[in-house]
């Protein structure tokens, strides 16, 4: 028993040294040790496989769907993942882990797995969740195109540019959903500027803290705090105050309603 206690203390001390004393190198230029990479990669693959099992896959591969996926891929994916004969943008080259080459993913991963990763994103990899920015149908279109990627020569990829197509705006739900709004908050980087009770993250003091925002008199010191005004402010702050430092984050009507519903619970 005493030995066990000593071991626990030693392990904690070692962990404290590595993490708290700053021994662990978090730089993107410091590659993972092979066992660390294996551990993280395996955990990620298994996690994705588990969750993708629940997803029912629609018909994939119709020409219209692939063309739409192609257009969306060029607007939102190629910047980090590259394409046949196309390098990722410079910023993406410095990422750790390096964004996957999807010509291989298109063959090696099942459509449900690719769908899940695009929709939910991957923590600590730089892969964002598209859930709040794309409807399922558009994500399936991208999956459809990713499955075609390994079959495309660089020349064909270049030739098949379909031009721009905007991602579809998700429908507004009947009643605002505070719980969904809470999840949406972390998907619009709100905590990089605001301290928000209930949301884990930087909680940085760039803008005011949102503690008790549900009962605050004014939004941004200007708008009387009503649900509609909150939605208006969240979606287009500059339309209310052109001088505001708060950027327009492209928040959809539905997400803004749900976020406002969550904020109104902070009393």
């Amino acid at each position: 028993m005493r030995l066990l206690a000593a071991l626990v203390v030693l392990t904690l001390a070692a962990a404290a040294t590595v993490f708290y004393a700053g021994v662990y190198d978090v730089s993107a230029t410091d590659e993972h040790l092979a066992p660390t990479y294996w551990l993280l990669d395996t955990a990620m693959r298994r996690s994705v496989q588990q969750r993708a099992e629940q997803i029912s896959v629609p018909d994939l591969g119709q020409p219209g769907q692939v063309r739409r996926g192609n257009a969306l891929y060029r607007q939102h994916c190629v910047q980090c993942h590259g394409a046949p004969g196309v390098a990722p943008e410079r910023f993406a080259l410095g990422m750790t882990p390096a964004p996957a080459n999807l010509a291989y993913t298109g063959r090696a991963w099942s459509p449900a797995e690719v769908f899940w990763v695009v929709k939910e994103g991957l923590k600590m990899t730089g892969m964002p969740a598209w859930k709040y920015r794309m409807v399922d149908e558009d994500i399936w279109a991208i999956v459809s195109f990713v499955r075609e990627l390994p079959k495309l020569s660089p020349e064909e990829y270049r030739a098949k540019s379909p031009g721009r197509e905007a991602a579809a705006e998700p429908p507004v739900s009947a009643a605002p959903d505070a719980e969904r709004g809470k999840r949406a908050i972390s998907q619009y980087t709100c905590v990089t500027c605001h301290a928000i009770p209930g949301i884990v993250g930087a909680n940085a003091p760039v803008g005011p803290p949102l503690k008790r925002i549900g009962t605050r008199g004014f939004i941004a010191g200007i708008l009387p705090n009503t649900p509609d005004n909150m939605v208006r402010w969240i979606r287009h702050p500059q339309a209310v105050n052109p001088k505001s430092a708060m950027p327009d984050l492209g928040v959809t009507e539905r997400d803004a309603r749900d976020i406002a519903a969550y904020l109104s619970t902070l009393r």
Binding site: P205, V206, R212, G217, F218, K243
Partner: protein, 95 residues
């Protein structure tokens, strides 16, 4: 900060009724929730959501908020320059 007297500033924040709208740590009856809480305001990047925070800008904002943002709900309370400096000295202790 700006040569102001922080303790005097704390008293002035009460005298000018700042607490009716703002929560201010260390000022007992400052529990308002009309404008944003001033907890940690020394670290805040923007004042009024648009003015980069510095002691000088904070003093100007306190004295004449509408010159920076005509729409702001914050009134001009007739705070003199010296009083504003004292208030800033106190608010800058809120980290």
């Amino acid at each position: 900060m700006l040569g102001g007297d922080a303790e005097h500033g704390r008293l002035l924040l009460r005298q000018f009724g700042c607490g009716a709208c703002h929560r201010i740590a260390g000022v007992a009856d400052a529990q308002g929730n009309v404008g944003p809480p001033l907890d940690g305001v020394a670290q805040r990047v923007y004042l009024g959501g648009m003015l980069p925070n510095s002691p000088e800008n904070m003093a100007r904002w306190i004295r004449a908020p509408k010159t920076f943002d005509p729409q702001t709900a914050m009134p001009t309370l007739g705070v003199g320059e010296e009083h504003a400096r004292d208030m800033v000295a106190y608010l800058y202790t809120l980290r």
